[in-house]
Subunit: 469 residues, 2 copies
């Protein structure tokens, strides 16, 4: 097996033993594993040859790119770990057609920088973008902070190329905005976490880079008024809201304790704090006026003043320069550091309908007080997407009580029509939730598709789909 792998990719690109170090755990070190070997193909043909070898010998194969997942989706005990890192070419950027054609191993931030040279952006953005790669972004349908305006990863993808579990290459490298020619395999592969095939390349949409941003911290009287504020902002700005991020007072306080140099967002403390960012591309919004500021910033201040007048907001601070904007974003982007500042942690990445976030939090906090009195919820939310990161610092260290918290969160989420996994995916960490909570006929259909496309169950086995019994 090892020799055959070396024949395919060359001796230096098959790693075994201690050379596999960095490929043997996830980046938070929540999971560790020992692959059979790590193999680093240079192109799609080599990926296909490796997959055929795995399929013929019924050997498990686990694709990995940036390895920044949070759900254990790259665990690879005894498996061939196929790293896409050498397939890192940005093959083409066509500014007129607003597309980028890239290989799976391109680092997200590298693509973002390349697009910016053309006045365009690839709008996917989140904390790990300096190491996360396109292959993993697509395979997990990554989310992040600008989904509100630009959609999830799948909404940014025109075409993909993938190696199926049989080793066949599906070429769906469409650059098209309309293509109704059979079942949508692209959307099936995106978000399948590498269990239906290995995405090797993609055609991605680019959008104009906003020429100006207007960013503010806004305090709202109550969380259940926030959606109304968002809708009014969208109405007033013609849909220019790029981000709408909720931080409760408890988060602000923990941020002040955890991060050196952290400052209060407002003079007086508020319970409901929202980071709002507008982005504008039209010259009349972006070209600096006599005061050196973009019109959108002045315009944003007028809107906020009006909202303040009628009581829709309690307070607002608009960033006056890039440094102030960065400080606002750093407060939000410190979420992982703030949340992980205490251990153990019971983490929930959930979504509810847009108008149910406040209800969810009220009910979850009541549940928490009942199941584990004295525990603390550390919440941060992509509020414009209905996505809540509900992390719990348990009072109890009892694993059964931790599970009870998870189940309690799931009960409420499902009752509100939500999802137990919003953007982090299933991997192995959410397999119990899938087994308990996913609509049974849907789960059966997923299993049927998995078996049809991967009859030997070699492709990232044991992820996404829980065992049948």
């Amino acid at each position: 097996m090892i020799d055959t792998l070396k024949d395919i990719v060359g001796d230096s690109h098959v790693l075994t033993g201690t050379d596999m170090g960095k490929y043997s755990h996830d980046f938070t070190r929540s999971y560790a594993w020992t692959p059979l070997a790590v193999v680093r193909p240079a192109n799609t043909d080599e990926v296909a040859a490796i997959v055929r070898l795995a399929n013929d010998s019924k050997t498990a194969i686990v694709p990995v790119s940036g390895n920044t997942g949070l759900a254990g989706g790259a665990r690879a005990d005894g498996a061939i770990m196929l790293s896409l890192e050498r397939m890192n070419a940005i093959r083409e950027i066509r500014p007129d057609a607003r597309i980028a054609i890239v290989e799976a191993g391109v680092v997200l931030s590298t693509l973002r920088e390349a697009a910016e040279e053309h006045g365009l952006i690839f709008p996917l953005t989140f904390g790990a973008q300096g190491s996360a790669m396109i292959g993993g972004n697509l395979s997990t349908n990554a989310g992040g902070s600008n989904v509100l305006r630009y959609g999830n990863t799948r909404d940014l993808v025109l075409g993909v190329e993938a190696v199926l579990p049989t080793g066949e290459v599906v070429d769906l490298m469409s650059e098209l905005h309309k293509d109704n020619s059979g079942y949508n395999l692209k959307h099936l592969l995106i978000g399948a976490e590498g269990t239906l095939g290995i995405i090797t390349a993609a055609v991605l949409k680019l959008v104009p880079k906003p020429g100006a941003y207007a960013t503010a911290m806004v305090a709202v009287p109550a969380l259940d008024q926030a959606l109304g504020l968002l809708n009014r902002l969208q109405q007033a700005t013609g849909g220019a809201v790029e981000a709408f991020e909720y931080m409760p007072r408890s988060y602000i306080e923990q941020h002040l304790k955890t991060i050196d140099g952290a400052r209060e967002p407002f003079e007086a403390p508020h319970e409901v704090n929202i980071l709002v960012e507008l982005g504008a591309t039209a010259p009349r919004d972006t070209q600096p006026g006599p005061d050196g500021r973009a019109p959108i910033a002045a315009y944003f201040e007028d809107i906020l003043a009006e909202f303040f007048e009628d009581g829709a907001i309690l307070d607002a601070v608009v960033a006056q320069n890039e440094a102030q904007r960065r400080e606002m974003w750093e407060r939000r982007e410190a979420a992982a550091e703030v949340t992980l500042s205490r251990q153990p942690i019971q983490n929930n990445d959930v979504a509810v309908p847009l108008d149910q976030v406040a209800t969810f939090l009220d009910r979850a906090n009541i549940m928490l007080g009942r199941v584990d009195p004295g525990s603390t919820a550390m919440v941060v939310s992509h509020l414009g997407d209905g996505n809540v990161h509900y992390a719990v610092w348990p009072k109890s260290q009892d694993p059964e009580r931790m599970d009870a918290i998870m189940e309690g969160v799931e009960d409420i989420v499902l009752d509100l029509g939500g999802s137990f996994s919003a953007e982090h995916g299933i991997g192995t960490s959410k397999l119990p939730s899938m087994a308990r909570r996913k609509n049974k006929p849907a789960l059966a259909a997923m299993r049927a598709i998995k078996t049809a496309l991967d009859p030997n169950n070699i492709m990232n086995p044991g992820k996404v789909l829980p065992p049948e019994n």
Copy 2:
């Protein structure tokens, strides 16, 4: 069988014999068929019971809603034809969450009217919207004229409920903007043309209704400059372009000949005529100024004047009132009437990358002159989507020459990275194209999925996937 169907839905909702008249042909009468029976269930449970009956008895079943498809996807010879027309409830519109929850038999224009009462729109729009229904819209992933701004049907759907070929009901009625919990069955069912299951209900996205439109006919020196114009317009307006529709001179002339009262769009004739529409929701763009016009209209005129100055456009006429706007749209929406004004017709609904439309048309016209000298191409295009309706009035009446035209168009489309089916779908009419042109491993994967979910091949059999040999 008939008796059992009557037990499920009641006697009056099982039609046979001459009662099946209007269910026995498509609306253009290009196809006719004789169903075994037409059955009209009242709810999802009845749909599931009918499907189980069909599956147990291995009887073909063909779902139909508005029956406005153009590709023969509802042909139902000897099959149970399951009409969703009675499942026509708009269950709920939640304006704050910007969603509508609807059953499959809701007529598209009915939903559009209901949304407008809340100041919102469901942005899917096309000629047949007065009879097309949501079930068919989703099953065919319908396109239309506003895809440029709002996406295809699949981009407007948050959740679906469907009855699988086994009769099981998958409840994916998510209202969520982020939901990574397993394979995306929603996107698999959308666009599958009823071959993988029957969509019975959906959660749809609504968006703010533009408070003002600015609409113009614009003449451009050459088609290959149109994409640059679109990008400049998007840049100048912050992405406010709702529609960008191309009509060549030959279309304008045929329109003048075909439609009573039709008028020239410009004083002098131009070769490249584009209907451009901007939509605005922000009050500063929509609230009428002293002259009674919305600022966006004045703003649009300034932009067009600038483009005229630097030679990017040759001429422009901005609609000064709703009547003038309607006249511009009626010219475009007469496409079916104009195109079908001569028979026979060889129709191609294709898509190419945004920057390849001019190349496609140049090459297609050369091909046409070679394959069938004296024939005429009647072209109209959703240019902002790369979607070209390339209809041919053949000189020859020879079916083989008609096929040669279709193959010639496909050759060019595929060479340019395009698709032989942009928005009309496969049905039965494009089965030869699927067999010839679709990526073989992709087609094999589709067949594997079909077999996995519909082992008895009862669900709209013979559509989308060509026979294997």
